[in-house]
């Protein structure tokens, strides 16, 4: 991290986020084009579950991008800042290197040191306690790692556009919502989402339309990403809402993100599909990082174009959606 910071010091800065349970400092990188313009935020974190080694590997790889020279990156850096936390669960990650390769949780000591670790994904303040399949802490945000991330994001929630959390394995791009046709077939889900939708088209009786357009954009971006990802090395990823594709223990983070109103929330599950699982073959590391970077960039570009249309606005059949989304942005800020 230090090297990257040094080599691109005008764009990349390193910041302290908080401390882990075992008192290790957590640092994140901020990639930001200096300007007078107020930017929206992309947050990306990796290494939540200790054994998913490809996740921190990806964040490391992503941090090495050519922010100064790549024209696509330069273009969205005009509107967006990128924050990267390469390992959220530092204690657990180190433990998986030194002691137990398939460890998942953090290393907080419980029950007088006879039991260790909280699953950092369900420790957030969103439907906390509804997950009975894993240990989610003694209370919402009981773990310092969770508190550090939650405090940071909540302080900036009106600016956080895009929250990306990286896991393995399974080869999925998981969205918060599904397409409107899917939503219609799952009425309960739609009602729940409608009640909590971060979409506030004030003064317009277009609440549902606004919400649906926004959720469609989220899915469309993911589907575009799936295509560009596949073009890289032929890898097949599945796109869909978590509730359909994969019931994973991440509902607390997801619900929290939903509650505080983060418009674009994605969970990536990287290679592979289970043949080697958490212990991915070494020759797959670089291709996985490459294809995932492509996918993430695709989503960022897509969202950037939708949210920050250039002066030459494309007049397409989607201009109604565009208008709604711009309106939404204004009501958010």
């Amino acid at each position: 991290m230090y090297q990257i910071k040094e080599s691109s010091s005008e764009l990349v800065t390193q910041h302290y986020l908080g401390m882990t349970y075992e008192s290790r400092p957590m640092y994140y990188l901020k990639v930001s084009q200096p300007s007078n313009k107020a930017k929206k935020i992309i947050w990306m974190d990796c290494g939540i579950h200790a054994r998913e080694w490809i996740s921190p590997a990806f964040c490391q790889s992503f941090m090495k991008e050519n922010y100064k020279t790549d024209p696509k990156i330069k273009s969205f850096l005009q509107n967006l800042d990128i924050y990267i936390l390469p390992v959220r669960n530092i204690d657990g990650y180190i433990y998986s290197w030194t002691t137990e390769r398939l460890w998942k949780k953090s290393r907080s000591a419980l029950v007088n040191g006879t039991c260790f670790g909280t699953d950092l994904n369900c420790n957030f303040n969103g439907s906390w306690g509804s997950n009975s399949l894993t240990f989610c802490g003694t209370g919402p945000e009981s773990e310092p790692e969770t508190k550090a991330v939650a405090r940071f994001i909540e302080k900036r929630k009106s600016d956080v556009l895009y929250f990306l959390t990286i896991h393995s394995y399974g080869q999925y791009i998981l969205t918060l919502y599904g397409y409107k046709t899917d939503l219609a077939s799952n009425h309960q889900d739609l009602v729940r989402q409608r009640n909590h939708a971060p979409c506030q088209c004030k003064g317009l009786r277009l609440h549902e339309l606004c919400f649906l357009s926004f959720s469609n954009v989220q899915v469309e971006a993911a589907e575009k990403a799936e295509v560009t990802l596949k073009e890289k090395h032929g890898t097949n990823f599945t796109v869909g809402p978590t509730s359909l594709v994969l019931y994973k223990n991440s509902s607390s983070l997801r619900d929290w993100a939903h509650m505080i109103g983060i418009p674009f929330f994605y969970t990536f599950e990287l290679r592979d599909k289970g043949a080697y699982g958490f212990i991915l073959l070494p020759d797959q590391i670089q291709p996985t990082c490459d294809e995932t970077t492509t996918a993430v960039m695709t989503i960022i570009e897509y969202v950037n174009q939708k949210y920050f249309p250039n002066s030459a606005v494309a007049v397409t059949s989607g201009s109604l959606w565009l208008w709604l989304i711009v309106l939404f942005t204004r009501t958010l800020s």
């Binding site: 509804s130 009975s132 019931y247 509902s251 289970g274």
Partner: protein
């Protein structure tokens, strides 16, 4: 004593809580019909069918993994269970290359512990080649004067020593039997790692391995340790015995959490496949 009874109660409670735990996620379909190909239950059922296939073929060179589900439907058979009808592509376990398509049915029975599978596949790899590969695995293993032993395969960094490849592949084949038996409509498995392997040198023609494997259970994300005994003669059905431990050391004597089916509780399961 109290802890013991709590340990007994724990699995039972977990079993009762299962429907509640999955309240926010997909439950076994109440309505019959076509499933989305990306749905978890479709993928789960396809994998169960492949576990069964990998076990029955008993060929370490021809192990298959799930590619993509092309079509999936489910039917409720009242009083019996849920039957899945699937069409999916398959990949070579090691190279991830497409090796054909399968049609399968998977019947999750309410009363019996393991799913009933019917599966038919095309296979694009050269079958003569895989038979030869199996035979050269076999020869290498038979020629051992010193029994093969090993730990952590693959190692933490994903490396598998070439000398241990055949043993690892046989572990996948043997684990397939175990994973087929343990799978339910909601619980699926992958073999995460071979923790330990020990070869028994036999006087007959068979290859005999003792393993400790670690299974990854989804969606619980638990890691389950199982002892596995695999006896292999190429061209014959695999003979597999297994015994799984719960992750929670305190309930070791209970033979796993309440999410496991009754057939793995503290007894050796021996199955001679009927040909």
């Amino acid at each position: 004593m109290q802890r013991r009874s709590a340990a007994r109660l724990g699995p039972l409670l977990l079993l009762l809580l299962l429907p509640v735990a999955w309240g926010a996620g997909p439950e076994p379909p109440r309505a019959d019909g076509e499933l989305q190909v990306s749905s978890r239950l479709a993928g789960q059922a396809a994998r169960v069918a492949l576990h069964y296939l990998n076990y029955r073929l008993g060929s370490p060179s021809a192990l298959r993994a799930l590619g993509q589900v092309r079509k999936a439907t489910v039917k409720t058979i009242p009083g019996i269970g849920h039957k899945y009808y699937l069409q999916f592509t398959t990949e070579d376990y090691k190279s991830s290359q497409n090796v054909g398509t399968c049609l399968a049915t998977v019947l999750y029975l309410k009363r019996k512990p393991r799913p009933a599978v019917n599966i038919n596949c095309t296979y694009t790899k050269d079958q003569k080649q895989t038979r030869e590969d199996d035979y050269s695995f076999y020869k290498k293993l038979r020629q051992q004067t010193k029994p093969i032993t090993g730990n952590d395969i693959p190692d933490s960094y994903g490396h598998i020593e070439p000398a241990l490849e055949p043993a690892w592949a046989l572990a996948v084949a043997g684990s397939s039997y175990l994973m087929w038996e343990k799978s339910t409509e909601n619980l699926g498995y992958f073999m995460a790692q071979v923790k330990n392997v020990k070869q028994w040198i036999t006087k007959d023609d068979s290859i005999d391995f003792d393993y400790l494997v670690i299974l990854h259970e989804i969606p619980t994300q638990e890691m389950i340790s199982c002892h596995l005994r695999v006896i292999w003669t190429p061209g014959h059905p695999l003979k597999v015995k297994y015994f799984c431990l719960s992750e929670n050391q305190q309930s070791e004597s209970e033979e796993g959490s309440g999410t496991e089916s009754g057939s793995t509780n503290g007894i050796f399961n021996e199955e001679e496949a009927n040909f």
